[in-house]
Symmetry: D2
Subunit: 139 residues, 4 copies
């Protein structure tokens, strides 16, 4: 599919969402040909899972996965698409650092799309993976 | 399993987490015999998925599911247990209201537990379902 | 939704599939009002996961879950609907006995349906749970 | 981890399972360094989802995913490991041909491993993806 939104356009969409804006998500790069988008989530105090651990709560990571998967499709569709369902697997604790989500479209059909999301910490370690199904009907 | 934490003890654990405290989660009820806990998430402006829609972003709902599933086990184990993975299915948009997550332990073995979570809106409509697997080794 | 197929009609559809016919699935009961169908899978030698264990391979259980979820919707739609995705959780080994899958429709919208499946062994023990998403567009 | 079973040893393990033997699975290649195994599932009449379609039932594909994920770990552990749970996403109908499952270990910890599985048809088209969690405790 053709690119319908560039990086600035996608960042503007992200910022327009109160939830995503609160999370502070930033588009780092995008590759519409390959269906890949990279989104950064900076650490913020509200993300800490237990005071003093410096570890990000898994709930914030799941939200990042949902959003990154969505925006791999936004890049093509031009607007947010509804998540049907998604799975989050946690591999390692996420330390007191920014996280980077790399979302890759595995298939985008007329009605359904499947996206994989890998989440790395600031040291490049894979800390979680996600897989989501999105509805292309209501895009 | 015997109850090891009562409602006040669980609420204190919730409040001790910066992330959960930010989300404003409140224990409404618990049934250690049946392995059921009910947790309320009040609406707050940062949860809105797009300005003016009054709809809660799915990422906040996924985080609620992860936490509610965890605390159905906390009730028994006495401390948070790591999420291995979980699935979130969205059924309907969540309107500008509080949500209620009802988490039910389906099985709690020595190493693995499986928990189902139903999420209802303020009108009692089922808006999302979750299913998570948690590690009982590191409880 | 109205019932469009009765038990004999559903059994005929099951038998028409070479795969399902090989698996020997039998409709035990159905409740179109509640969106519940119960399907039995008899043990057969090809299902054994390792010779001499008498335990059913998880792959056969996953197939049973997929099919039971589908037929909870067939009961309403009148034809098989495509599975979009599903999750299988194994709780206990399945002994050398028939299994019973109880599939319950959690939501059936115009384009998407979500179905939960509980699998019990011949002693009534819960040995696996499934959750699937099906497409209602191509029913 | 070091390789503990070579291709012939893995094929022998596969053949020892009545279920897997019935499915006719064959190891095509393995790469213990990268944690990748490729397994072929030939078409057989019992796999057909509806008579005359020549399409493989999704239940057989799910079973293939479960097994391929398992054997990506067998290659390292030397014995089958229990599946905790797995997700199957169907992308396209699978035509009357053999399928090939490529399973890649994403993480193998002391207690839990996560494996991704891509399933291609005989024309090299991606027809399904799987993601499974396995227990390394009881390997």
């Amino acid at each position: 599919m053709a690119e319908v939104l560039n990086q600035a356009g996608i960042q503007e969409l992200l910022d327009n969402s109160p939830f995503i804006s609160f999370m502070g998500l930033q588009v780092l790069s995008l590759d519409p040909e390959q269906g890949v988008i990279v989104i950064k989530m900076p650490m913020r105090p509200e993300f800490e899972r237990r005071g003093g651990t410096g570890q990000i709560h898994g709930g914030a990571i799941a939200a990042l996965i949902d959003i990154a998967g969505d925006y791999a499709l936004v890049m093509r569709v031009g607007a947010g698409v509804p998540t049907i369902n998604f799975r989050t697997d946690y591999l390692r604790p996420a330390s007191d650092q920014h996280l980077t989500a790399t979302a890759t479209v595995r298939q985008a059909g007329r009605s359904i799309a499947v996206v994989d999301v890998d989440v790395h910490d600031g040291n490049g370690k894979l800390i979680a993976v996600g897989r989501g199904t999105y509805s292309m009907n209501a895009g």
